[in-house]
């Protein structure tokens, strides 16, 4: 009852000076908007990186040739460039037979090749793989079928293509059963992959041709590689829990295969997608906290602005305070009234800031082409912090108001 009346006094004072109130809360508006936007940008980036890395295949270990180097992300790039030739079919077999808990082991060779079909030309990535490759990379056939082990062993010249290749070469026509010349070697299209879209590294994941490992290696890339070399081995663990053990076992099996003495460096490297994911998420989280902290400083500045105006208000309204005391207001009533005024100012700023922050986050997400991630707790947290700022920075002015001597206050002009 009493509280509601004091709240009405407080809001009455705010409404009495609309322009001044808006300007006063502007600092909080900017602070809250900035925190909401920064948090949202961080979360959006995190979600996009997560989906990108997950898009490479879950529970996946990528084994590539070449000495491993310390330094996380850059080694992935170096491995992708993978010029070494230290992996071969026997390594694949050794992993398959000696490591437990595998969902798939998929060797791959790849190269760039000129494609031609029915008068159209296209340059695309060609990969020589086994049927397990689909499992390892979480790929799905959208149309037609994948080649099987027998066809691969027989060296049949069949391919499964990505949607970009299908569109570039045949437009809307059905590519199944069509002939596709890869570096002038004729293949038959037996399937089309479901679209995966663009990766965050800017690569079109649908611009690919998958052929049987043997055929691609000997017919397309053969001139540059030894007969049984593979470029990458995708090892997929059955569960996320066994991922680390599978990575360790794979490393041990390969060291044994390659007769690497204890203490010597590996001549290959293994990349665990989960750990890459973790590392990048941790990096983004740090970055987000940093941005939000910088934004939070502007919230503090907003609080100081409120404190300043509240001090002015207490001075301006000294006589009002004296009169209220004379007609029976307790010191706590005066304290509560001014604290509520300060909190209400800050809260109004927080509400406006929340609205602007959400709009800004959606806008930036559109520009950056990532999901607009505004967590459900952003609203309550933003408003809670606004209240807190109002309370903390209103405390001193309110205390000053409540400590006034009513006689002195009434005498003030």
């Amino acid at each position: 009852m009493r509280f509601v009346e004091l709240l009405r006094f407080a809001t009455g004072a705010i409404i009495a000076h609309p322009m001044r109130s808006v300007l006063t809360s502007l600092g909080v508006v900017i602070g809250v908007a900035a925190v909401v936007m920064m948090t949202s940008i961080g979360l959006g980036a995190q979600q996009r990186v997560t989906s990108t890395i997950a898009g490479l295949g879950s529970n996946l270990i990528i084994v590539s040739p070449g000495a491993s180097r310390s330094g996380g992300g850059s080694s992935l790039v170096m491995a992708a460039a993978g010029s070494g030739q230290s992996l071969n079919d026997r390594d694949v077999e050794a992993i398959r037979s000696q490591v437990d808990g595998l969902a798939a082991v998929a060797p791959s060779v790849r190269g760039q090749a000129q494609l031609a079909a029915d008068g159209a030309n296209w340059n695309s990535r060609i990969e020589g793989v086994t049927p397990d490759y689909l499992i390892a990379r979480d790929l799905v056939i959208g149309q037609g079928r994948m080649f099987d082990e027998r066809e691969a062993r027989q060296g049949r010249k069949v391919v499964v293509i990505g949607t970009t290749v299908a569109r570039e070469l045949w437009g809307d026509a059905d590519p199944i059963g069509k002939r596709l010349r890869v570096r002038a070697v004729p293949f038959e299209v037996i399937g089309v992959l479901e679209s995966k879209g663009q990766s965050s590294f800017g690569q079109d994941q649908d611009d690919v041709v998958l052929g049987p490992l043997e055929a691609v290696r000997s017919r397309i890339i053969g001139r540059r590689a030894r007969g049984d070399t593979v470029q990458t081995i995708y090892v997929k663990s059955e569960t996320a829990e066994t991922l680390d053990r599978v990575q360790e076992d794979t490393t041990n099996v390969l060291r044994e295969e390659h007769k690497i003495r204890p203490g010597d460096d590996d001549d290959f490297q293994t990349q665990n997608m989960a750990s890459i994911l973790q590392a990048s998420q941790a990096a983004i989280a740090t970055f987000t906290v940093l941005l939000a902290a910088v934004a939070a400083v502007s919230l503090l500045v907003g609080g100081v602005g409120i404190m300043n105006i509240m001090l002015v208000a207490v001075t301006e309204r000294t006589r009002e305070i004296g009169l209220r005391m004379a007609v029976g207001a307790r010191r706590s009533d005066i304290l509560t009234q001014f604290a509520l005024e300060s909190i209400a100012l800050s809260l109004v700023g927080g509400l406006i800031g929340l609205g602007l922050g959400v709009l800004g986050a959606i806008g930036i997400a559109k520009l950056g082409q990532w999901p607009a991630a505004i967590p459900a707790w952003a609203g309550p947290t933003a408003l809670g912090f606004s209240c807190l700022v109002g309370l903390v920075f209103g405390a001193y002015p309110s205390w000053r108001a409540a400590r006034l001597d009513p006689i002195e206050a009434l005498r003030r002009e």
Partner: protein, 226 residues
């Protein structure tokens, strides 16, 4: 009703002590209409501040209906002012943002009265002081006399035992000053105890008892023929 015994108020100004009240003993009965007169610096304002519960005496006792007001803490004093005292000031002290009606409602809000109830009472009080047609007006839209009558209605809001008026006509012209004094007389006839602080002998003449102050002491205390 009011019993002051050897009341003193001492202010410390730097090294010096200044006695605003130097031992005042006074008895004021219920229903009295009393004027406190004296030049500025005589201690009459200090007396009013203590009587109204805005200040505490340095020594001596102040009893109000048997209660020792001098020993009250801040909250007790706030409650005392709220329930027992009505103030009327020279400069009206109306809140400029509020209408006449809202100004009159203010003491009742602090007393915790329900909105509908206090609105009715505030309207009644404004009617009583002759401002029934000005309830929605802001102070700036009212004349000085009208503003002081709003302030009087406000002072009456919580049915006080004592109405304290500090130079209530000081900011008014003679004509409206007389109207306000007539209103005070009427209120006193209706049973309200009234203390009027003034340096204006004409104003003091409206009261039935005059207490004169000089240098913090009572120099005369006389009944005036009605």
């Amino acid at each position: 009703m009011i019993e002051l015994t050897d009341l003193r108020k001492v202010y410390v100004m730097g090294e010096e002590e200044v006695a605003a009240l130097a031992g005042v003993s006074l008895f004021i009965g219920r229903g009295e209409h009393l004027a406190v007169i004296g030049p500025s610096g005589s201690g009459k304002s200090s007396l009013m501040n203590i009587l109204g519960g805005l200040d505490r005496p340095s020594s001596g006792t102040y009893r109000f209906d048997g209660e020792d007001v001098g020993s009250f803490d801040d909250n007790d004093l706030a409650s005392f002012r709220r329930r027992r005292i009505g103030f009327v000031f020279q400069s009206f002290q109306l809140l400029p943002r509020l209408s006449a009606l809202q100004n009159v409602e203010l003491p009742m809000i602090y007393a915790g009265m329900a909105p509908a109830e206090r609105r009715v009472r505030a309207a009644e009080l404004l009617d009583r002081v002759g401002l029934a047609s000005r309830m929605g007006h802001r102070p700036t839209q009212l004349s000085g006399g009208q503003q002081q009558r709003v302030a009087i209605a406000r002072a009456l809001a919580n049915s006080p035992d004592l109405l304290l008026a500090d130079e209530p006509t000081g900011a008014l012209d003679t004509q409206t000053g007389q109207e306000v004094l007539a209103l005070f007389k009427q209120l006193n006839r209706d049973g309200l105890t009234l203390i009027l602080v003034t340096h204006d002998l004409e104003v003091a003449a409206a009261a039935r008892r005059q207490v004169a102050f000089r240098d913090g002491l009572i120099v005369s205390d006389q009944q005036v023929a009605a």
